[in-house]
């Protein structure tokens, strides 16, 4: 098919498959993977997929990502599947699920929200009020974050 995967299999670690095309770098941001950790990380973007047409794949060698951590990926890649690899075999496989609550990851868009006040010991907290389309609500100020806004907020994650 002209698009042969050039990234070889990993021995132990996590493969995140079926990421919406073009979102792999944001997935890494959400997971807090910068590359400086020293693990082997493979990012494959815009390859063909029977399910999605085009998709991205991320492979992280030597780390089994926890469910709580990977579920955050569902915010921008709701179809992503997680494969935990042990000794070249898929030991566990599951689809990400939008978490009920997202703490500390995203900033609130309301400048008058308590979470945006300087010098307060507080982290943001959003409740997922709708899954499709995705809608989050700030636990403090009640502001509703729609899918569109969410993309921008994810881009902002340092």
């Amino acid at each position: 098919m002209g698009e042969r995967l050039i990234v070889s299999k990993i021995r132990d670690g996590t493969v995140i498959d079926h990421i919406k095309a073009g979102r792999a770098l944001e997935v890494l941001k959400i997971l807090g993977i910068s590359g400086k950790e020293g693990n082997i990380v493979a990012v494959v973007m815009n390859v063909s997929s029977k399910k999605l047409g085009r998709k991205d794949i991320v492979k992280v060698e030597g780390v089994e990502l926890g469910k709580e951590q990977v579920d955050l990926i569902a915010l921008i890649a709701p179809d992503a599947t997680i494969n935990i690899i042990r000794d070249y075999d898929v030991a566990e496989k599951y689809r990400v699920k939008v978490p009920e609550k997202i703490s500390g990851l995203l900033r609130c868009v309301n400048p008058n929200c308590i979470t945006n006040q300087p010098r307060e010991p507080i982290e943001t907290s959003f409740r997922v009020v709708n899954v499709s389309p995705l809608k989050l609500k700030c636990e403090y100020c009640g502001v509703v974050i729609t899918e569109e806004l969410l993309e921008k907020l994810v881009e902002e994650i340092a």
Partner: protein, 307 residues
């Protein structure tokens, strides 16, 4: 279930909670009217921390606590203003938590009361935060309707004014929505209720209609809840000048209203309610303000030593 509960948003109280509150408020109203003395909260201390100006809310909470035989401490306005300038709210709340049994807070920042509640062991009462919640005002509003109309279910209710930024209006809408009203949300286009309120109304299956002109719906109403439209909300002053007349209510405006229509207003009013209304049987906003004390007595009592 009231005991130890933070009072942060009207949406967190069930009809059963409110029924308990109204019964207790009735009892305190009688005690006040008959000049009796109660010491239900003797030895307890209320702290008021108002980071935004307030007359009615602060004084009525203080009066309520004193009438219950408790004591009151107040965050000095100078300190409140230095905190408003950027000092840390969390530390102030920790201090008040140590000094008092219950804390009423008002703050211009949204979510301040909820944040305070996470920090404090003493219950927090939200005396108004930003443009969102003013739960005790809504409780007073609902109590007023129940007392003045002898019922609260299935009424036709108009809410007029700044529905977008007004926290009293927002809290009232979400409060009355528990009682299956026909709601008319009356405001200029740019001050319509926000989407999150509409979402909640839809979720609760409430019949509501958004209109810009009171005349269209006046004859239907059992209750008209009036709030102020602030000039500062309008990016274009001409737009304000154009609409302000339509949201000013005088005797003439009310021709065509039901005889037993009652008008509420969280006060302070500026010129949205003409003085000529005060003497009509429609005006109930002074009773509403007076009910502030017994309702807040009931809130303090239930949170500190209720079921």
């Amino acid at each position: 279930m009231w005991r130890g509960k933070d009072v942060l948003s009207i949406t967190e109280f069930s009809k059963q909670d409110l029924r308990v509150l109204f019964d207790e408020a009735e009892r305190y109203l009688r005690i006040i009217e008959e000049g009796e003395i109660t010491e239900d909260l003797k030895g307890r201390i209320l702290a008021t921390a108002f980071f935004e100006p307030s007359t009615r809310t602060k004084l009525s909470f203080q009066s309520a606590m004193l009438r219950l035989g408790g004591k009151v401490i107040d965050l000095p306005p100078a300190m409140a203003s230095s905190i408003a300038k950027g000092e840390n709210l969390a530390d102030t709340i920790r201090m008040l938590d140590a000094y008092a049994d219950i804390i009423v807070i008002r703050h211009k920042v949204e979510g301040a009361a909820r944040f305070a509640a996470k920090i404090s062991n003493s219950p927090i009462i939200n005396g108004g935060d930003g443009t969102r919640d003013h739960p005790t005002q809504a409780m007073i509003d609902l109590f007023t309707i129940k007392r003045e109309l002898r019922k609260i279910e299935n009424l036709s209710v108009g809410v007029l004014g700044d529905l977008k930024y007004g926290r009293a209006a927002r809290s009232f809408i979400l409060g009355i929505a528990k009682y299956n009203p026909q709601l008319y949300l009356i405001s200029p286009e740019i001050l319509k209720v926000r989407e999150d309120v509409i979402d909640l109304l839809e979720e609760m299956n409430i019949k509501y209609e958004e209109v810009t002109d009171l005349k269209e719906v006046l004859s239907e109403l059992d209750v008209l809840y009036v709030t102020r439209i602030q000039r500062e909300r309008f990016p274009d002053p001409m737009e304000y000048e154009r609409v302000k007349g339509s949201y000013k209510i005088d005797e003439k405006t009310l021709s065509g209203a039901k005889d037993n229509l009652i008008i509420l207003h969280p006060l302070p009013r500026v010129d949205e309610l003409d003085f000529s209304i005060d003497k009509t049987s429609h005006a109930r906003y002074f009773q509403q303000a007076a009910y502030g004390v017994p309702v807040r007595m009931a809130i303090l009592k239930l949170v500190l030593s209720g079921e």
